[in-house]
Symmetry: C2
Subunit: 186 residues, 2 copies
Protein backbone atom coordinates (compact mmCIF):
# COMPACT_ATOMS: atom_id res chain seq x y z
CA UNK A 1 0.00 0.00 0.00
CA UNK A 2 1.42 3.35 -1.02
CA UNK A 3 0.34 5.69 1.68
CA UNK A 4 0.64 9.13 2.99
CA UNK A 5 2.95 9.49 5.94
CA UNK A 6 2.72 12.52 8.23
CA UNK A 7 5.30 13.94 10.62
CA UNK A 8 3.55 15.60 13.55
CA UNK A 9 5.89 18.33 14.77
CA UNK A 10 6.03 22.03 15.42
CA UNK A 11 9.79 22.17 14.81
CA UNK A 12 10.84 23.27 11.28
CA UNK A 13 14.45 22.01 11.73
CA UNK A 14 13.21 18.52 12.47
CA UNK A 15 10.74 18.59 9.60
CA UNK A 16 13.44 19.64 7.12
CA UNK A 17 15.81 16.91 8.27
CA UNK A 18 13.14 14.22 7.94
CA UNK A 19 11.92 15.46 4.55
CA UNK A 20 15.44 15.34 3.11
CA UNK A 21 16.05 11.79 4.26
CA UNK A 22 12.61 10.47 3.27
CA UNK A 23 12.52 12.07 -0.15
CA UNK A 24 15.96 10.65 -0.99
CA UNK A 25 14.37 7.24 -0.47
CA UNK A 26 11.25 8.04 -2.46
CA UNK A 27 8.93 8.31 0.52
CA UNK A 28 6.64 11.33 0.32
CA UNK A 29 6.40 13.03 3.69
CA UNK A 30 3.67 15.43 4.73
CA UNK A 31 3.66 17.83 7.62
CA UNK A 32 1.02 17.63 10.32
CA UNK A 33 1.24 20.95 12.17
CA UNK A 34 0.82 19.66 15.63
CA UNK A 35 1.13 21.52 18.85
CA UNK A 36 0.74 19.22 21.80
CA UNK A 37 1.48 19.66 25.48
CA UNK A 38 3.83 16.73 25.85
CA UNK A 39 3.93 14.72 29.06
CA UNK A 40 6.66 14.98 31.69
CA UNK A 41 8.79 11.88 31.61
CA UNK A 42 12.49 11.02 31.59
CA UNK A 43 11.97 8.72 28.60
CA UNK A 44 11.92 10.05 25.00
CA UNK A 45 10.14 6.85 24.03
CA UNK A 46 7.28 7.43 26.47
CA UNK A 47 6.94 11.04 25.35
CA UNK A 48 6.87 10.15 21.64
CA UNK A 49 4.33 7.36 22.21
CA UNK A 50 1.94 9.52 24.19
CA UNK A 51 2.23 12.27 21.58
CA UNK A 52 1.58 9.96 18.64
CA UNK A 53 -1.61 8.67 20.24
CA UNK A 54 -2.86 12.24 20.47
CA UNK A 55 -1.71 13.00 16.91
CA UNK A 56 -3.40 9.94 15.43
CA UNK A 57 -6.62 10.68 17.30
CA UNK A 58 -6.71 14.07 15.61
CA UNK A 59 -5.41 13.19 12.16
CA UNK A 60 -6.64 9.63 11.64
CA UNK A 61 -3.83 8.95 9.13
CA UNK A 62 -0.41 7.26 9.48
CA UNK A 63 1.69 9.65 11.51
CA UNK A 64 4.87 9.79 13.57
CA UNK A 65 6.26 11.93 16.37
CA UNK A 66 9.81 12.38 17.62
CA UNK A 67 11.45 13.22 20.93
CA UNK A 68 15.14 13.84 21.55
CA UNK A 69 17.22 14.39 24.66
CA UNK A 70 20.84 14.89 25.66
CA UNK A 71 21.69 12.74 28.68
CA UNK A 72 24.86 13.69 30.60
CA UNK A 73 26.08 10.93 32.91
CA UNK A 74 27.68 12.92 35.72
CA UNK A 75 24.54 15.11 35.87
CA UNK A 76 22.21 12.12 36.40
CA UNK A 77 20.88 12.38 32.89
CA UNK A 78 20.29 16.15 32.93
CA UNK A 79 19.06 17.89 30.75
CA UNK A 80 17.43 14.74 29.27
CA UNK A 81 13.96 15.16 27.86
CA UNK A 82 13.97 18.80 28.99
CA UNK A 83 16.94 19.60 26.70
CA UNK A 84 15.08 22.16 24.61
CA UNK A 85 13.80 24.03 27.63
CA UNK A 86 17.18 23.93 29.40
CA UNK A 87 18.93 25.20 26.25
CA UNK A 88 16.61 28.22 26.25
CA UNK A 89 17.19 28.93 29.94
CA UNK A 90 20.88 28.11 30.44
CA UNK A 91 22.42 27.66 26.99
CA UNK A 92 25.55 25.60 26.36
CA UNK A 93 27.30 27.92 28.81
CA UNK A 94 25.16 26.59 31.67
CA UNK A 95 26.08 22.99 30.85
CA UNK A 96 29.78 23.89 30.76
CA UNK A 97 29.46 25.57 34.18
CA UNK A 98 27.77 22.52 35.65
CA UNK A 99 30.61 20.32 34.35
CA UNK A 100 33.49 22.60 35.36
CA UNK A 101 36.28 20.46 36.81
CA UNK A 102 34.34 17.26 36.08
CA UNK A 103 36.45 14.54 34.50
CA UNK A 104 33.56 12.25 33.50
CA UNK A 105 32.09 14.13 30.56
CA UNK A 106 30.26 11.18 28.97
CA UNK A 107 26.95 12.00 27.34
CA UNK A 108 24.55 10.56 24.81
CA UNK A 109 21.88 11.92 22.56
CA UNK A 110 18.79 9.76 22.23
CA UNK A 111 16.01 10.16 19.68
CA UNK A 112 12.82 8.15 19.84
CA UNK A 113 10.23 8.04 17.11
CA UNK A 114 6.74 6.62 17.54
CA UNK A 115 4.69 5.69 14.46
CA UNK A 116 0.95 5.07 14.54
CA UNK A 117 -1.01 3.69 11.58
CA UNK A 118 -4.32 3.02 13.32
CA UNK A 119 -3.44 -0.62 13.96
CA UNK A 120 -0.84 0.05 16.61
CA UNK A 121 2.25 1.97 17.63
CA UNK A 122 5.80 1.04 16.65
CA UNK A 123 8.77 2.82 18.16
CA UNK A 124 12.34 3.28 16.96
CA UNK A 125 15.39 4.55 18.85
CA UNK A 126 18.73 5.98 17.88
CA UNK A 127 21.57 6.79 20.22
CA UNK A 128 24.74 8.77 19.62
CA UNK A 129 27.34 8.43 22.36
CA UNK A 130 30.00 11.01 22.95
CA UNK A 131 31.26 13.57 25.42
CA UNK A 132 30.86 17.19 26.37
CA UNK A 133 33.71 19.41 25.14
CA UNK A 134 35.53 21.81 27.48
CA UNK A 135 34.35 24.85 25.53
CA UNK A 136 31.87 25.79 22.84
CA UNK A 137 33.48 25.14 19.45
CA UNK A 138 32.07 25.53 15.92
CA UNK A 139 29.33 27.45 14.18
CA UNK A 140 27.07 24.88 12.48
CA UNK A 141 23.93 23.20 13.71
CA UNK A 142 21.96 24.35 16.71
CA UNK A 143 21.28 23.57 20.37
CA UNK A 144 24.03 21.55 22.02
CA UNK A 145 25.99 20.97 18.77
CA UNK A 146 28.88 23.30 19.82
CA UNK A 147 29.64 21.22 22.95
CA UNK A 148 28.88 17.65 21.81
CA UNK A 149 31.73 15.49 20.44
CA UNK A 150 30.59 12.11 19.10
CA UNK A 151 32.59 9.07 20.22
CA UNK A 152 35.88 8.58 18.36
CA UNK A 153 35.92 12.06 16.85
CA UNK A 154 37.91 15.06 18.03
CA UNK A 155 35.38 17.57 16.70
CA UNK A 156 32.01 18.85 17.89
CA UNK A 157 28.89 18.50 15.75
CA UNK A 158 29.03 22.28 15.25
CA UNK A 159 32.53 21.97 13.75
CA UNK A 160 31.58 19.22 11.35
CA UNK A 161 27.98 19.18 10.25
CA UNK A 162 28.57 16.29 7.78
CA UNK A 163 29.64 14.21 10.77
CA UNK A 164 26.44 15.14 12.53
CA UNK A 165 24.32 14.26 9.53
CA UNK A 166 25.90 10.81 9.29
CA UNK A 167 26.20 9.91 12.97
CA UNK A 168 23.36 11.61 14.64
CA UNK A 169 20.76 9.98 16.85
CA UNK A 170 18.00 11.58 14.77
CA UNK A 171 19.46 10.41 11.48
CA UNK A 172 19.76 6.86 12.81
CA UNK A 173 16.20 6.82 14.06
CA UNK A 174 14.73 8.33 10.90
CA UNK A 175 16.65 5.75 8.88
CA UNK A 176 15.15 2.89 10.89
CA UNK A 177 11.67 4.31 10.41
CA UNK A 178 12.16 4.82 6.67
CA UNK A 179 13.42 1.24 6.22
CA UNK A 180 10.37 -0.04 8.06
CA UNK A 181 8.01 2.11 5.97
CA UNK A 182 9.60 1.02 2.70
CA UNK A 183 8.96 -2.60 3.57
CA UNK A 184 5.51 -2.15 5.03
CA UNK A 185 3.93 0.54 2.88
CA UNK A 186 5.69 1.20 -0.39
CA UNK B 1 -22.52 25.59 53.43
CA UNK B 2 -20.14 23.47 55.44
CA UNK B 3 -18.37 21.36 52.92
CA UNK B 4 -15.65 18.87 52.41
CA UNK B 5 -12.51 20.29 50.90
CA UNK B 6 -9.96 18.03 49.23
CA UNK B 7 -6.29 18.65 48.49
CA UNK B 8 -5.26 16.74 45.37
CA UNK B 9 -1.57 15.99 45.75
CA UNK B 10 0.89 13.14 45.80
CA UNK B 11 3.31 15.03 48.06
CA UNK B 12 3.07 14.20 51.80
CA UNK B 13 5.10 17.32 52.84
CA UNK B 14 2.62 19.58 51.10
CA UNK B 15 -0.36 17.74 52.55
CA UNK B 16 0.99 18.02 56.10
CA UNK B 17 1.65 21.74 55.73
CA UNK B 18 -1.86 22.40 54.40
CA UNK B 19 -3.57 20.23 57.04
CA UNK B 20 -1.82 22.06 59.88
CA UNK B 21 -2.85 25.47 58.60
CA UNK B 22 -6.43 24.49 57.73
CA UNK B 23 -7.14 22.63 60.94
CA UNK B 24 -5.91 25.58 63.02
CA UNK B 25 -8.67 27.56 61.34
CA UNK B 26 -11.30 24.88 61.81
CA UNK B 27 -11.44 23.80 58.19
CA UNK B 28 -11.43 20.02 57.79
CA UNK B 29 -9.14 19.00 54.96
CA UNK B 30 -9.24 15.66 53.17
CA UNK B 31 -6.62 14.11 50.98
CA UNK B 32 -7.36 13.20 47.38
CA UNK B 33 -4.52 10.89 46.36
CA UNK B 34 -3.96 12.21 42.92
CA UNK B 35 -1.25 11.33 40.50
CA UNK B 36 -1.48 13.41 37.38
CA UNK B 37 0.92 14.03 34.54
CA UNK B 38 1.10 17.78 34.83
CA UNK B 39 1.49 19.93 31.75
CA UNK B 40 4.72 21.63 30.68
CA UNK B 41 4.43 25.35 31.24
CA UNK B 42 6.53 28.11 32.79
CA UNK B 43 3.54 29.25 34.84
CA UNK B 44 2.64 27.62 38.19
CA UNK B 45 -0.85 29.10 37.79
CA UNK B 46 -1.42 27.39 34.43
CA UNK B 47 -0.14 24.07 35.80
CA UNK B 48 -2.35 24.23 38.90
CA UNK B 49 -5.42 25.18 36.85
CA UNK B 50 -5.00 22.36 34.36
CA UNK B 51 -4.44 19.89 37.20
CA UNK B 52 -7.49 20.98 39.15
CA UNK B 53 -9.71 20.49 36.12
CA UNK B 54 -8.49 16.91 35.90
CA UNK B 55 -8.87 16.41 39.65
CA UNK B 56 -12.42 17.75 39.75
CA UNK B 57 -13.41 15.63 36.78
CA UNK B 58 -12.34 12.55 38.74
CA UNK B 59 -13.47 13.48 42.23
CA UNK B 60 -16.56 15.65 41.60
CA UNK B 61 -16.12 17.39 44.97
CA UNK B 62 -14.51 20.74 45.95
CA UNK B 63 -10.80 20.26 45.45
CA UNK B 64 -7.58 22.22 45.07
CA UNK B 65 -4.15 21.65 43.55
CA UNK B 66 -0.86 23.45 44.11
CA UNK B 67 2.24 24.17 42.06
CA UNK B 68 5.44 25.82 43.25
CA UNK B 69 8.60 26.98 41.52
CA UNK B 70 11.85 28.75 42.34
CA UNK B 71 12.61 31.43 39.75
CA UNK B 72 16.21 32.71 39.61
CA UNK B 73 16.55 35.98 37.72
CA UNK B 74 20.03 35.67 36.26
CA UNK B 75 19.13 32.14 35.04
CA UNK B 76 16.08 33.37 33.09
CA UNK B 77 13.73 31.89 35.63
CA UNK B 78 15.45 28.48 35.87
CA UNK B 79 14.56 26.06 37.49
CA UNK B 80 11.02 27.50 37.62
CA UNK B 81 8.19 25.01 37.35
CA UNK B 82 10.75 22.20 36.91
CA UNK B 83 12.23 22.88 40.37
CA UNK B 84 11.42 19.45 41.76
CA UNK B 85 12.94 17.64 38.81
CA UNK B 86 16.04 19.89 38.74
CA UNK B 87 16.54 19.36 42.49
CA UNK B 88 16.62 15.61 41.90
CA UNK B 89 19.08 15.89 39.01
CA UNK B 90 21.43 18.69 40.11
CA UNK B 91 20.68 19.40 43.77
CA UNK B 92 21.43 22.74 45.43
CA UNK B 93 25.05 22.20 44.41
CA UNK B 94 24.11 22.51 40.73
CA UNK B 95 22.34 25.84 41.32
CA UNK B 96 25.40 27.15 43.19
CA UNK B 97 27.65 26.12 40.30
CA UNK B 98 25.43 27.87 37.78
CA UNK B 99 25.60 31.06 39.88
CA UNK B 100 29.33 30.96 40.63
CA UNK B 101 30.73 34.49 40.32
CA UNK B 102 27.27 35.91 39.59
CA UNK B 103 26.50 39.09 41.52
CA UNK B 104 22.76 39.17 40.77
CA UNK B 105 21.46 36.37 42.98
CA UNK B 106 17.82 37.54 43.11
CA UNK B 107 15.25 34.78 43.17
CA UNK B 108 11.64 34.24 44.11
CA UNK B 109 9.51 31.30 45.09
CA UNK B 110 6.01 31.28 43.68
CA UNK B 111 3.14 29.04 44.74
CA UNK B 112 -0.13 28.92 42.86
CA UNK B 113 -3.22 27.16 44.10
CA UNK B 114 -6.26 26.44 41.94
CA UNK B 115 -9.58 25.60 43.59
CA UNK B 116 -12.51 24.02 41.74
CA UNK B 117 -15.96 23.62 43.28
CA UNK B 118 -17.90 22.57 40.20
CA UNK B 119 -19.01 26.12 39.45
CA UNK B 120 -15.64 27.42 38.38
CA UNK B 121 -11.95 27.73 39.16
CA UNK B 122 -10.41 30.34 41.47
CA UNK B 123 -6.70 30.76 41.74
CA UNK B 124 -4.48 32.19 44.47
CA UNK B 125 -0.80 33.13 44.35
CA UNK B 126 1.89 33.69 46.93
CA UNK B 127 5.39 34.96 46.25
CA UNK B 128 8.43 35.04 48.51
CA UNK B 129 11.29 37.18 47.21
CA UNK B 130 14.85 36.63 48.28
CA UNK B 131 18.26 35.61 47.04
CA UNK B 132 20.43 32.58 46.58
CA UNK B 133 23.11 32.17 49.26
CA UNK B 134 26.78 31.58 48.38
CA UNK B 135 26.76 28.16 50.03
CA UNK B 136 24.35 25.60 51.41
CA UNK B 137 23.59 26.54 55.02
CA UNK B 138 21.25 24.92 57.56
CA UNK B 139 19.62 21.56 58.15
CA UNK B 140 15.85 22.13 58.25
CA UNK B 141 13.25 21.91 55.50
CA UNK B 142 13.89 20.33 52.13
CA UNK B 143 14.62 21.14 48.50
CA UNK B 144 16.16 24.56 47.98
CA UNK B 145 15.74 25.65 51.62
CA UNK B 146 19.52 25.52 52.34
CA UNK B 147 20.29 28.09 49.62
CA UNK B 148 17.26 30.43 49.75
CA UNK B 149 17.42 33.57 51.93
CA UNK B 150 14.14 35.50 52.10
CA UNK B 151 14.34 39.27 51.57
CA UNK B 152 15.49 41.23 54.61
CA UNK B 153 16.80 38.19 56.46
CA UNK B 154 20.41 37.02 56.79
CA UNK B 155 19.45 33.36 57.17
CA UNK B 156 18.35 30.63 54.81
CA UNK B 157 15.02 28.84 55.23
CA UNK B 158 16.99 25.76 56.29
CA UNK B 159 18.60 27.73 59.15
CA UNK B 160 15.32 29.09 60.43
CA UNK B 161 12.29 26.96 59.77
CA UNK B 162 9.98 29.28 61.78
CA UNK B 163 10.90 32.02 59.33
CA UNK B 164 9.97 29.75 56.48
CA UNK B 165 6.65 28.82 58.03
CA UNK B 166 5.73 32.49 58.46
CA UNK B 167 7.09 33.96 55.22
CA UNK B 168 6.81 31.22 52.70
CA UNK B 169 5.07 31.44 49.34
CA UNK B 170 3.13 28.27 50.18
CA UNK B 171 1.99 29.55 53.58
CA UNK B 172 0.83 32.81 51.99
CA UNK B 173 -1.12 31.03 49.29
CA UNK B 174 -2.72 28.52 51.63
CA UNK B 175 -3.73 31.42 53.90
CA UNK B 176 -5.46 33.20 51.02
CA UNK B 177 -7.32 30.03 50.09
CA UNK B 178 -8.36 29.34 53.68
CA UNK B 179 -9.70 32.90 54.10
CA UNK B 180 -11.70 32.51 50.92
CA UNK B 181 -13.08 29.15 52.02
CA UNK B 182 -14.06 30.44 55.47
CA UNK B 183 -16.14 33.18 53.86
CA UNK B 184 -17.64 31.08 51.11
CA UNK B 185 -18.19 27.68 52.71
CA UNK B 186 -18.06 27.68 56.48
Amino acid sequence: MAGEIYFATSNPHKLREAKGLFEAKGIPLKHFKFSHNEIRSDSPEEIAKEAVEAAYKELKKPVFTEDTGLFIESLNGFPGTYSGWVQKKLGCRGILRLLKGETDRSAAFQTSIAFHDGKGIRSFDGICKGKIADNEIGESGFGYDPIFMPEGHPQTFAQNIELKNKLSHRYKTLSKLSEFLLKAYF
